[in-house]
């Protein structure tokens, strides 16, 4: 850690991980209801568990983005953070808003649109905090060195804030409501968040492989170009069945298919830089995350997204467990693994110790990643059976669900394994620092082509 104010990131990472833990708890509760339907039915209905689960995800990912930005910005801009106190204040506001929303949900206080359930005043607090964050980091950038990494990152963050404003617009016409709802939801995850993802990955690769910045930054522009050229019109894959004109069927099908390209490019990018790299960075675990993130994102977003994105397929699969399968692996690969990778990279430096307890971190990586994949497979099987029985044959929804019990039990099992992986990671991040393991780092040597 070259700059003192990079340590501003630490409380962000801690809050993010605390909320991640809670997210998993609510996910387990919801998955338990799928397995034993009467579980907690009187105390906490399923919708409360689900809203808690999804909102915690979004809030902690945003806090993770902020922490990552505070960590990276001083090094990239060669400039201390404009105001560390502003950063702590803005984190406090954000964390308070998130916590207040979470508590409110348990008492039925919410707005009622999926993912945008936060009460109005919570939305305002989130906006204020995010603007403080943007001000703080943009001031740092303005005073310092501008690189493709920090420019693309800040562009992604600013645009995320701009599209967030559509969350305040709730038309009375349900079709129009849905039209703009996707301006937040889709344009975030398949648009501007990809700018954040690509630039954070680029940062990790520059640091860990030692490949020339010029090369990495050119790739970065190509990737984010592919992301927005495809992702903007790709929104059309959500406009097939909500009362929008039929031209969205060809447009949405074609452009959302192209959305696979930036995810594929990120895989090629990460592995090429890894093989080209001359530097043998001691943080093996961070390298593992930096390669795993684009790989799983390619499968979750790219392959699982493509699976149901063509309009004539989506006609049958729309709104089934197939969607839930894709949602899980895409979010996990692209954004959860990204933040976990940055934390893995940053923590040893923030704590000023050599990379420590690497083996546990890597176990956490494999346990959690395999468990998320398994969860995705079970939900996919459930979704395919559901699609066939309900959408092709026309069987009643509840009867179909009775056929899927086995898959839901397996999903719950996978969830327990995710929780185990998460505990291992938390201990690896924040637990006592040990001697450097593996010593010296002979496996996964960069430049030899072996992974």
């Amino acid at each position: 850690m070259k700059y003192e104010t990079q340590k501003v990131a630490l409380p962000f990472f801690m809050v993010a991980m605390a909320l991640f833990t809670l997210q998993i708890v609510f996910g387990l509760l919801a998955a338990t209801v799928y397995a034993w339907p009467n579980f907690m039915a009187e105390v906490m209905p399923f919708n409360i568990m689900r809203v808690s689960h999804t909102n915690l995800l979004i809030v902690w990912l945003l806090i993770g983005f902020m922490g990552s930005t505070y960590y990276l910005m001083p090094e990239e801009a060669e400039q201390e953070i404009h105001s560390p106190n502003l950063a702590y204040l803005q984190l406090a506001i954000f964390a308070f808003a998130g916590a207040a929303a979470l508590v409110g949900y348990q008492f039925g206080i919410h707005e009622g649109r999926e993912f945008l359930e936060q009460p109005f005043w919570v939305k305002i607090l989130i906006t204020i905090s995010f603007l403080m964050f943007l001000f703080n980091t943009s001031m740092t950038l303005l005073k310092g060195r501008k690189t493709a990494i920090n420019l693309v990152l800040m562009l992604g963050l600013w645009l995320a804030a701009v599209f967030w404003l559509f969350a305040f617009y709730n038309p009375t016409n349900l079709a129009v409501d849905k039209l703009y709802w996707w301006w937040v939801v889709h344009l975030w995850v398949e648009g501007v968040w990809e700018l954040i993802m690509a630039s954070l990955l680029g940062y990790l690769l520059i640091k860990m492989t030692g490949v020339d910045r010029e090369v990495i930054e050119k790739w970065l522009y190509i990737i984010v170009g592919l992301a927005l050229f495809s992702g903007l019109l790709g929104t059309g894959h959500h406009y097939y069945w909500i009362g929008a004109p039929s031209y969205w069927q060809p447009i949405g099908s074609i452009f959302s298919t192209l959305e696979v390209a930036p995810f594929f490019a990120m895989v090629v990018f990460a592995f090429t830089m890894f093989w080209k790299g001359s530097r043998n960075h001691p943080n093996k675990a961070a390298m593992l995350w930096a390669l795993g993130c684009p790989t799983v994102a390619f499968f979750g977003a790219g392959v699982w997204g493509f699976m149901h994105t063509l309009s004539f397929v989506n006609y049958y699969s729309h709104g089934t467990q197939v969607t839930a399968a894709h949602g899980h692996l895409a979010f996990y690969g692209a954004y959860v693994m990204l933040i976990l990778g940055i934390i893995t990279y940053a923590m040893p430096q923030i704590r000023r110790v050599q990379p420590y307890n690497q083996v546990l971190n890597m176990w956490g990586f494999w346990v959690m990643t395999s468990a998320m994949c398994f969860m995705t497979f079970t939900l996919t099987f459930a979704g395919v059976v559901q699609t066939h029985l309900q959408r092709v044959i026309g069987m009643n929804y509840m009867e179909v669900q009775d056929q899927l019990g086995l898959f839901y039990f397996m999903r719950l099992g996978a969830g327990v394994a995710v929780a185990v992986g998460a505990i291992m990671l938390l201990y690896a991040f924040f637990g006592p620092a040990r001697e450097q393991v593996p010593a010296g780092g002979t496996q996964m040597t960069t430049g030899t082509g072996s992974v």
Binding site: V33, Y34, N173, K178, R391
Partner: protein, 150 residues
């Protein structure tokens, strides 16, 4: 890859191309907005009661168990076409009575069956909610879903 391309050229393509695609997307969205208001939904039928029904829908966060037009949660049946499923196209009065009776019958308390919570709606709120569901069923959505099952 792309050795002929310089970094600044890649940057300019990114900015220019993104702006271009954004403008196309915004234009098509504006047209879709117009289309929804004038063609695919019943703007005249969007009465105060339908609007209130949407508020009831949101206030009780039905979306985190059910889906509506395929969006939402996957824990409970699709409701975008529940009006059709209850026979509203043939017999509106019976459909109203049926949907209302279902909601009033909660909680069913059947062991091993997913449970919908009980809601204590006033008659007015109930009727608005059903108006909203009826209105939603009337949206021209390219004939989705494939079966009344939802």
């Amino acid at each position: 890859m792309a050795d002929g391309l310089t970094k600044s050229a890649a940057r300019n393509i990114f900015y220019g191309g993104s702006l271009f695609f954004f403008l196309v997307f915004a234009g098509l969205t504006a047209h879709s907005h117009w289309y929804m208001v004038n063609v695919s939904t019943d703007s005249e039928g969007l009465t105060d009661s339908v609007k209130h029904g949407k508020e009831v829908w949101e206030k009780n966060m039905c979306i985190n168990c059910h889906s509506i037009m395929g969006e939402g949660a996957y824990f409970a049946p699709e409701l975008g076409n529940v009006w059709e499923r209850y026979g509203g196209h043939e017999n509106p009065e019976a459909a109203r009575a049926g949907i209302s009776a279902w909601i009033r019958a909660q909680p069913l308390d059947v062991e091993g069956r997913r449970q919908m919570p009980a809601y204590d709606f006033s008659d007015e709120a109930m009727s608005s909610l059903i108006d909203f569901l009826e209105w939603t069923d009337g949206i021209d959505d390219q004939d989705w879903p494939p079966h009344p099952a939802g």
